[in-house]
């Protein structure tokens, strides 16, 4: 799978963060196949709808925790409960660095936990690292 074909699902309710994340991804030419969900319900619709199959699933989910309606933890739990998304890589990308959030995320099956830095330069670096790792270096699960 080529990098350009690789798909990202960004679950982010804050439009600023969405824009900044997309900008950072664009900066590294990874923004073409980004799908944005603005809350947990939308994210689950995309991931767990009836016509979803392994071929339409993204390569990685960037998941914010603090979301309207259904929060990130619940999204993660629902994903891990479904056969299709059980092994889908999920990177939690959030403002929180609460221990409880970190622990809960890993317990629910998150593959990575990254705190969004306030410093945009650091944020861009972080997004680049995520993209490079999960879309280029990482070998995803075989379907």
């Amino acid at each position: 799978m080529s990098a350009s074909a690789a798909k990202i699902l960004l679950v982010e309710d804050n439009p600023d963060d969405e824009e900044l994340t997309l900008r950072a991804l664009r900066h590294h030419q990874m923004a073409e196949n980004v799908v944005v969900a603005r809350d947990g319900v939308e994210a689950l619709d995309i991931l767990l709808s009836k016509d979803t199959d392994v071929n339409t699933l993204p390569n990685v989910v960037l998941l914010d925790l603090n979301l309207p309606r259904v929060n990130g933890h619940e999204v993660l739990k629902a994903m891990r409960a479904d056969e299709r998304t059980r092994s889908l890589p999920v990177v939690v990308l959030t403002s929180s660095n609460e221990e409880s959030d970190v622990q809960r995320s890993y317990n629910s099956g998150a593959n990575s936990y990254i705190r969004k830095p306030v410093d945009y330069r650091q944020f861009v670096d972080a997004v680049e690292t995520i993209g490079n790792y999960w879309l280029r270096l990482n070998q995803g699960p075989i379907h």
Binding site: L20, S95, N97
Partner: protein, 617 residues
């Protein structure tokens, strides 16, 4: 009062009668003895007198017979008469006669009542004895002697001899004896009266004294002089009196002490009160006469069930001591609590005849216990309530902090991010001033991000649970120092550390504390030559005062009271960076360990932060 007591108390002393009897009987015995002696002597004297009279009379009659024989042969009757007159001069001779062999009287003399002797002419003849033997006939007051002359061939001599003298002797003996006996009786009475007077008085006193022993006054009876006979009795009585008094005094003293301390009530075997002390009356509110004779159950509160009283009665009626707490009721109806010990007193058959109850008023204690219990229950509620409120507050704080960390950072990221975006994408359209401003916006938002993070750390210190374990402070300090050295390997800082400072505490919090303390020391020695950081301990025996000392910039002592307030900074940000949250965090960590923290310094002379950690492991 028992019959014995009545006898002792009411009967008059018998000692006078006894005294009288003793004297009279003593004197009587003496008199009897004398009379017995008199009787014996009298009898002996009489026998002796009779014997000597008989012998005298016999000699007289024999001589007269012998001489009269000669006169008869010669038929000299004048001489015969003369002989008789002469012979009759013997006292006690009443009459003397000479008869022929046929009994006809030749001559006869007799004594008259006036004691003169004269011949008697009597023609009548006498009846002679049958045999020719000498005859002695004892008659009343007289003896008759018959003597044959020449074997009766010439005739007989008859002598009538008076026994008056012998009787007189006997009579005199008796008169003397009785007189002596009477005299002896009187003298004996007098002597006994005198001799027995003192002993009897002493016995009288002793009796009186013994009669008074039951009153138990502890008196000692005075010794009667010259009454050695009863000295032992006196000794014995005095000893008994002393013993009774002292043992009774012991009992009285103990009773006094008991009454002074305890509430004492005594009942008979049926539970009727027979004695109550003042305290008993005071406590129950009853007068003594209202209680005595009544059953103890008059005080029953009804709060204890039948089983309770059954057990109690069973215990004490078996002769066993019962101990326990009882709720009773006063006269006015209010209840009181006593701790009581009931001691049964048993008779020889082992059956209780009275019960002595020794009690202590524990009403106040009971009330206090009750109040304390209520208070405790209430306290638990309070604590629960507070805990609940605290939990609510904590969870609110938790969600607040979560919001802060999450929601406040997002706008900052936007500010910084879009400022960066402007700088990157539109720098061509911006002059230098605009770029400078945008850079400042970025720097400020980043700094605010750090502030938020520090604030979160501080609140975490307060919120997080303490996980106590044995912590090696020396190791933590060294680890923090090593981390700093790794981060800035170009700095040369001399570090000295006290070894093996072990405390009980939360390792994570204590690590955060050292990160702040040694981090500060590291920061403020940045411009010091020969920088030195020291971790040490003083006054180890009192639990330990720990310190982190540096030779860096120090601070102005004037502001040291502000040092531990959050966001309080004593150095400009240009000189030394920082949020001003570090020492506030340290203070919270130290306080959570029950310790205190304080600082000492002079500007440019280094700083020392001291801290204690409360109870040490």
């Amino acid at each position: 009062m028992s019959a014995v007591e009545k006898k002792v108390a009411n009967k008059p002393p018998l000692i006078r009668r006894f005294y009288f009897q003793l004297v009279i009987s003593g004197a009587f015995v003496v008199a009897i003895a004398i009379l017995l002696f008199t009787w014996k002597v009298g009898s002996e004297q009489l026998a002796y007198a009779l014997e000597s009279n008989q012998m005298q009379a016999q000699a007289l009659v024999r001589n007269t017979a012998s001489v009269a024989g000669n006169h008869l042969v010669t038929k000299d009757f004048g001489a015969l008469e003369e002989l008789l007159l002469q012979a009759a001069t013997f006292p006690d001779v009443m009459s003397l006669s000479i008869m022929n062999s046929s009994g006809a009287i030749f001559a006869s003399v007799q004594r008259n009542n006036d004691d003169t002797i004269e011949p008697v002419f009597n023609v009548q003849s006498m009846v002679l004895p049958d045999s020719v033997e000498e005859q002695v006939l004892v008659l009343q007051n007289t003896m008759e002697f018959w003597r044959p002359i020449e074997e009766g061939s010439l005739g007989w001599v008859k002598l009538q001899y008076s026994l008056d003298s012998a009787s007189k002797i006997q009579r005199e003996v008796w008169i003397n004896g009785i007189t002596t006996a009477l005299f002896a009786f009187v003298v004996s009475v007098l002597i006994l009266v005198v001799l027995l007077k003192k002993p009897m008085r002493a016995i009288g006193h002793a009796t009186e004294f013994a009669r008074g022993l039951y009153k138990n006054t502890g008196k000692v009876m005075p010794f009667e002089k010259s009454a050695f006979e009863i000295e032992q009795l006196e000794h014995a009585l005095n000893y008994a009196s002393h013993q009774i008094y002292s043992s009774n005094k012991d009992l009285t003293d103990i009773k006094l002490a008991l009454d002074a301390h305890a509430i004492v009530g005594i009942t008979d075997e049926y539970g009727k009160l027979t004695y109550v002390n003042d305290k008993f009356c005071d406590l129950t509110g009853y007068q003594r006469h209202e209680l005595l004779g009544n059953k103890y159950s008059i005080l029953s509160s009804g709060q204890n069930d039948d089983d309770f009283y059954n057990t109690l009665w069973q215990t004490i009626s078996m002769g066993n001591i019962w101990h326990g707490e009882i709720e009773n009721r006063r006269k006015n109806g209010s209840s009181y609590w006593i701790e009581t010990t009931i001691v049964p007193f048993v008779n020889k058959q082992g059956e209780p005849y009275q019960y002595v109850g020794i009690q202590t008023d524990i009403t106040e204690r009971k009330q206090a216990t009750h109040e304390l219990k209520e208070y405790q229950e209430h306290l638990e509620e309070k604590v629960e309530e507070r805990t609940h409120k605290l939990q609510i507050a904590n969870s609110e704080l938790e969600s607040f902090c979560y919001s802060v960390s999450h929601d406040l950072r997002a706008p900052l990221r936007s500010i910084d991010g879009f400022s960066q975006a402007l700088l990157e994408d539109y720098s061509a359209n911006l002059d230098e001033q605009a770029c400078n401003y945008l850079n400042r916006v970025c720097a400020s938002s980043q700094r605010m991000g750090e502030l938020i993070d520090d604030l979160l750390k501080l609140s975490k210190v307060v919120r997080s649970d303490m996980r106590a374990s044995n912590v090696n402070l020396s190791l933590l300090a060294t680890r923090v120092f090593e981390q700093l050295t790794e981060r800035e390997p170009e700095r040369k800082v001399d570090f000295s550390c006290a070894s093996k400072c072990m405390v009980s505490g939360d390792e994570r919090l204590l690590l955060a504390m050292f990160e702040n303390l040694i981090g500060n020391a590291w920061k403020f020695t940045a411009r010091t030559e020969n920088a030195r950081i020291e971790f040490g301990v003083e006054q180890e025996e009192q639990g330990g005062v720990y310190f982190v000392r540096d030779n860096g910039a120090g601070f102005d002592e004037k502001y040291k009271h502000k040092m531990f307030e959050p966001f309080q900074r004593l150095h400009s940000n240009e000189d030394y960076e920082g949020s001003g949250i570090g020492l506030a965090t340290v203070q919270r960590i130290v306080r959570r360990h029950g310790g205190e923290v304080w600082a000492e310094s002079a500007t440019n002379n280094g700083a020392t932060i001291y801290f204690t950690l409360g109870e040490q492991a």
